[in-house]
Point group: D2
Chain length 379, copies 4
C-alpha cells in the first residue's frame, strides 16, 4: 500500500530558495550551515518531493552581479529546475537586506531609495517572468518605524500606493500577467511595520489604480505573531477573491518571527487552515515559508521540508475524516442555517422569545472535542 | 491665567454612558459602585466639562421596556442633556450582553438570532436618531468563536455583510443620515472575534452595497491588545476617508481589555495619536471609551473623566511644541522629501550609489530623544 | 474491549465546584446557565467519572452564612460527596470576589482588609480540613495594581510573607497538615498581579518561615497568558520538590484568561505536559480549572468535563507510545548524555574542536516530526 | 546654570561594549555600521559621559586569539579605560554566538559542549577579574529549546546547577570575589529559554551550593517581552537582597527583543523603575543594555547613549518631584498603613464591616493622574 502522505505535484507544495537555503544566522548567533547554491537547493527540493520553488531576486542573482553573470546564473537555474521537475510559481524582491533599505524601500524618506527600490523590483519582475512565475509577492519588511517621529504614517500609505501602481503598470506594459500578492507583518525587523495585518492590505487594495491585479499573501507566522486568528484572515481574503498566495509555517504568539515547520507549534490551528483551503478548493501553491532549526545539518533540512508536506497531508486526511463524521455532520446540521433576513416589514413585526432561544445548548464543546479526537487520530 | 488644560465644547470630548456608569464588575468580582442613572451620568459629565454622551440602546432603555416606559425615559434623558448642555453625537446597539447573543448576533448560526439582532439595531437607530446622533457605531462583540468548528468564517463575513447592507438601507429609507462606524477587536469576550483589526474592516467596507456610508471606529485598546501600532491603523483609516469616530483609552499589550484612562498606560503612544488627530484636523468627537479603576467611588470616576480630557490637552500642547521646535523641524527637513517617482525610462536608466546613500546617519535617535524631552516637559 | 480512555479514580481527576458550576458571566455578558447547587455539581462530577472536587469557601458556604447554615450546608455536601464517591483533595479561599478585596487582600493598604483576609482564610482552612482536604491553594487574584503609585511593590512582598507565615502557623497549631500551594498569575483581574509567574513564587517560598510547607500550584492558562512555556515552569517546580498541585486547562497566549477545556487550544503543549507528569510519576490530583463555553447548557458542561479527562488520557497513551518508539529512542540516545563536568585541572587542560562538534546535525527536526506523528495518531 | 541632566560618575552609568558597538545586523538585514574597536568604544563612552563599560569575553578578545594576542588586546584596553576614566564594573561570557552553542551551553546534551562552555566561562572570569570587574553576569541565551523532545527540562535545571556551582567554586578558589548575576529571558534566540523570568532564577538560586554568591540581573526588555511588570520583578529581587545588577533599555511587549533606548518605548514604566531604584538607594551600576536604531551612524550612536542617561536623569528628577508633592503625599498617607496582623485570638474574634470598608473610594485615579502630570512636566 502506498504511503497516503506522499507529496505529489498535484499538491502544489513549494518552498522558497531562502527556506531550505536558510543558514541559521540569528540576532545572537552566526551561520551554522554552509551556503547552499540555488541549483543544489532545487535538487534537494526535487529529492524530497516538492513541486515548486520561489525566490527573491537576490536569492538567485547577487545584488551586484553583472548582466552576463546574471544571465549565466539564470540559465543554470532553469536547467536545474527542469532537471528536477521543479516549477517557479512565484517570485519576489528583496527590499530589506541591503543597508540602503534600513529606513524603508517604497516608503523611505529618501526619494533616491524609493526610486532604487522600484527599479530593483522592476528587474525582479523581469527575472520572475523569465522563470515563468505568475505571482509576484511584495513584503515590505523595512516599511515601518522605530519612532513615529520620522514620517507621517499617512504619507507612507501614499508612497506605498504610488509604488504599487507603478509596478502594476509595468506588468501590464510588459504583458507579464503578474498577480501581485501583498504580505503583511506587524513588526520585526522594524519596531512597527506599516500594513500590520492582512486586513490592512485588504483595505489598501481597493484604493489602488488596478485593484483587480492585487491580492494578498497571508503568512501564518505574521498573523499569529500578533495573536490573531489566521484562519479568519485567510477566509476574509478568500471571500473577497484576494487569496492570491499563502505562506505556511508556524509560530508561537507574541514572539520573534519563528518560521517553524508547518503545524509544529499548533497543530489545531493548522488543521482549521488546511481544512479551509481544501474545503474551498484553493488551487494556488501551498508555499512553506519556514526553515529548519539551527541545530540541523542539511539532512535535518530535508527532514524539515518533508515534515512540512507530510503534516499538511495528514491534516488534509483528518479534514476529510471530519467532514465525513456522522456525529459532526449532525451537530452542524443542528447548529443553524443560512436563511436570509426577512423583509423589513416582516422583521419589524416579529417578536422573539429571547429566553427560549438562549436556553438551547449549542453543543460546541462536543463539536470541538470531536474535532480534537479526529485530529489526534483517536476517532 | 486660565488653566490651559480646561476642557471646552470645541474639544468635542465625549463619554459613553457605560464609561462613567461602569460599576466595576469583572470576571472575578462583583460590582463595586451603585448604579448611576443616565440622567445623573449626564449631570456628572456636565460637571466635569464634557461635550457629549454616547450610548448603547440598553444603557438608556432596558431591553424589556414597554414603549411608554421607553418614551418617558428618552424624554427625561433629553431634558437632562439639555440642562447640562450635553449632546449625543453617537449611538450604538448592545448585541453582546443578553444570553441570546452568546454565539453571535449578525453572524449567529441561528436565523432567529440574526433577525432579532437586526431588529434590535433598527430600533437602536430610531433611538439614536431621536437623540440627534449622526454616527452609529457597530461593535460585534459576540461575532466570533471559541472553536472554528461551529461555522465557516467566510460564511460569517457574508452574514455580516447582509446585516450591514440592511442597516444602511434602513438609514437611507428613514433619512436618518447615519454614518456607520465599525469597531474591530481581536478577542474577548469571544476566543477570537471576526474582523480582528481596523484593517479587516477597511477591507470589508468596499464589499458593501454602500461603502460611502460606512467607516471605522478604531479603539486604542482593541488594536493595542494585539500589540499593533494604533497610530498606523488610524492613519490608514484617515487617509482612506474612513475615520468616522474614535475610541480613546489605554491598554497594555497582550492582555484582557483594560479600558484605562486615556494616556495612562503609554503616554508616548497617546502623544503620537493626539498629534496626528490634531495635525490632520480630525473634527469628529474625541470619545473616551474607558472606565475608572474598581478602587474608585464616584469621586474617583470624576477624577478619571477629568484625567482623560486633561491628558489629551496636555499632549495636544506638547504636539504644538513639537511642531514648533526648531531643531525638530530641521531634522525633519533633512530627513527627506515627497518627490514623486521618476518616469520609467528615467528610472530604468538611473544608477544608484547604495553605499553612499546607506552611509548617511538619519539622526532618528536624536529626533526621538527630542520627542521624549518635549513629551516629558523637559524641553 | 473497554474504552481505554475511560476516567478512573486512580487517575485522580478533579474539578473545582466553580468549574462545572461556572455560569458563563463575562465582562460583556450576563450569566447563561442557572445556578448549579454544590450537591448537584458533585452528582454531575460523579456521573462523568471524576475522582475529586475542590472548592473556594464561598463556592459552598455563602460569605454571610450563619454558623448553623454553614454547618447544614457542609453536612449536605459531605453526604453528596460520599454518595457520589467524590473526595475533596484541595480547598482554597475566595479573596477576590467581594468588593472589600478590590485593592488586594493580604497586600491591601488597609490593615482591616489584610486582617479580614487572613481571618477568612483561617475559616476556609477549617472548612477544608473538615472536608478532608490536604492541599490548600492560595491564589491572590487581587494582590496587584493598576497603578504602581498606590504602594511600593517590595512592601507588598513583605505583607504577603507575613500572611503566609501566619497561615502556616495556624495549620501547625491546628494540626491540619496542609501543604500550601501558591498560584501565580501575571494579570487579570488586576492590571498587574504581584508574583506574576510560578518562578516568582519559587523565589518567594525560601524566604518564608516554613518553606517546607509551601509549594506551588502552576496553572496552564496563567503561564501561557504571558506566553511562557508551561512545561518548563512545572519542571522547575517538580525538580525543586515544590509541585504540590496543578491546574489544567488551556489558553491562547497574550489574551484574557480563557480557561478552555484541557488540550483544546494547543494539544502539543498539553502533550509535553502530560508526558512530563506521567514520566516523573507525579501522584497529585490532575485538577481541571476550566469551564465550558458560554454556548453550552449543562449537557455541554458534561461534554466539557468528559473532554478534559478524555484528552488527558489520549495524550497519556500518546506519551507511552512516544517513549516506546524505537526511532525516537535511538535519536534520544544519540542526542547526548548526562556525564558530569570534568575536574577543573582536566577541564582547563582540555582542547575542543568547536567546528567538528558544531558540524554534527542534531536531528531535532526529525525528532519533532516524529512527535507530531505520534501525537496525531499517524504513527 | 549647569544642565541638571548631565551624567556624572556618581550616577554609575555603564554600557556594554556590544551596545555602542552594535553594528545593526538583524535577522533580515546586514550590518549597517563599520566595526568599532573596543578602544574606540571606550573613547566614545568617555566622550558622552559614561562611567563604566561591560563586556563579554569575545567583545574584547576574539574567540581564537592566541595568549599573546589576548594579552596585548587586554593591555591596550586597560590603557584606553584609564585614559578615558572608564571602569569595568561587570564582565560576562558569550555562550551564544558560536555554532558550537546552537543547542545550549551549560545545558547542552553534548558533554563536550558543556565542558567547553564552563572552560570558556572560567577564562572569561579570569579576564573580568583582570579588568577589575566584581560582578559576573550569566545570560544563557542558548539554554532552551525549539522542541521539548530534545531533553527533559528538569535535566536542564540540574545541568545548569552543576555549572553555576562549578563557577562559584572557581571564584572562591581564585579569590576573585565575584558576585554572579543571572539574567533571565523567555525566548529568542531559542523558541523557549529555560529560566524564563527573573522569578525563575530567584527560585533557582536557593538550590545552589553558594546562594549567597548569586543574584540576578533583570533586564527591562526581557521581562517586558513577556508582558510582565518589570518593577515588580526588580522589587522582589531587591527585597530578597538579590539585585546584583540591572540591564536598562526599553521594549514593546509581545515582540522580538528590541533593546531600545532607555525610556523610549514606555516612559511611565521607566519612571516607576527609576523611582524605585532611587528610593531604595540601589547603588550598583545603571547598565544600559540597548543599542541605536539601524538608521544611525556613530553620531546617532552617541545620541542614543546620551539619550539613555539623560532620560534616566529626567525621570530621577521627576521621581523627586513626585516624592515631594504635597497632594500625592496626602493621598498616600490616606491610602493605608503597615500595621502588622493582630494576634490570632484577637483576629478570630474580630468582626468586619465589609460594606463600609468597600464603600470608601481609594482615589487611585487621582493619584495616577497626578503621576502622569508630574511625569509629563505639567505639574
Amino acid at each position: 500500500m502506498p504511503d497516503p502522505f506522499t507529496p505529489l505535484p498535484a499538491h502544489k507544495f513549494s518552498f522558497g530558495l531562502w527556506t531550505v537555503g536558510n543558514r541559521g544566522r540569528d540576532p545572537f548567533g552566526d551561520v551554522v550551515r554552509p551556503a547552499l547554491p540555488p541549483t543544489e537547493a532545487v535538487a534537494l527540493l526535487g529529492e524530497v518531493g516538492a513541486w515548486g520553488v520561489n525566490l527573491h531576486d537576490n536569492d538567485l542573482v547577487p545584488i551586484d552581479a553583472s548582466p552576463s553573470e546574471r544571465d549565466r546564473i539564470v540559465k543554470d537555474f532553469k536547467t536545474a529546475c527542469e532537471r528536477n521537475a521543479i516549477v517557479v510559481p512565484m517570485a519576489t524582491v528583496n527590499l530589506f537586506y541591503d543597508p540602503v533599505f534600513r529606513d524603508g524601500a517604497f516608503t523611505s524618506n529618501d526619494p533616491r531609495v524609493r526610486a532604487y527600490a522600484v527599479q530593483k523590483t522592476l528587474k525582479a519582475m523581469d527575472l520572475g517572468a523569465e522563470l515563468g512565475a505568475t505571482i509576484f509577492v511584495l513584503w515590505g519588511g523595512r516599511e515601518g518605524t522605530e519612532t513615529d517621529a520620522c514620517r507621517r504614517p499617512d504619507e507612507a500609505v501614499k508612497r506605498l500606493r504610488e509604488a504599487v501602481n507603478y509596478l502594476c503598470q509595468y506588468s501590464i506594459d510588459r504583458r507579464y500577467g503578474f498577480r501581485f500578492a501583498l504580505e503583511a507583518k506587524p513588526n520585526e525587523p522594524r519596531g512597527d511595520i506599516y500594513m500590520a495585518t492582512t486586513g490592512n492590505y485588504l483595505g489598501f487594495i481597493p484604493t489602488l489604480d488596478r485593484p483587480d491585479m492585487v491580492g494578498v499573501n497571508p503568512e501564518v507566522a505574521h498573523e499569529q505573531m500578533a495573536g490573531l486568528n489566521f484562519l479568519h484572515a485567510v477566509a476574509q481574503a478568500w471571500e473577497a477573491g484576494k487569496l492570491f498566495h499563502i505562506d505556511l509555517n508556524d509560530q508561537v504568539s507574541g514572539r520573534y518571527d519563528q518560521d517553524f515547520r508547518f503545524g509544529s507549534a499548533n497543530p489545531k490551528s493548522a488543521f482549521w487552515l488546511v481544512k479551509f483551503l481544501e474545503d474551498v478548493r484553493y488551487d494556488g501553491p501551498r508555499h512553506f515559508d519556514a526553515h529548519a532549526y539551527r541545530t540541523e545539518d542539511y539532512n535535518g533540512v530535508r527532514d524539515f521540508a518533508r515534515g512540512c508536506m507530510r503534516t499538511y497531508l495528514i491534516l488534509k486526511e483528518r479534514a476529510q475524516r471530519w467532514n465525513a463524521d456522522a456525529e459532526i455532520r449532525e451537530l452542524l446540521r443542528e447548529a443553524g442555517s443560512n436563511q436570509p433576513l426577512p423583509s423589513r416589514e416582516t422583521l419589524l413585526a416579529q417578536s422573539f422569545d429571547r429566553a427560549a432561544i438562549a436556553a438551547r445548548g449549542l453543543a460546541y464543546e462536543r463539536l470541538d472535542q470531536l474535532t480534537m479526537e479526529v485530529l489526534l487520530g483517536a476517532r
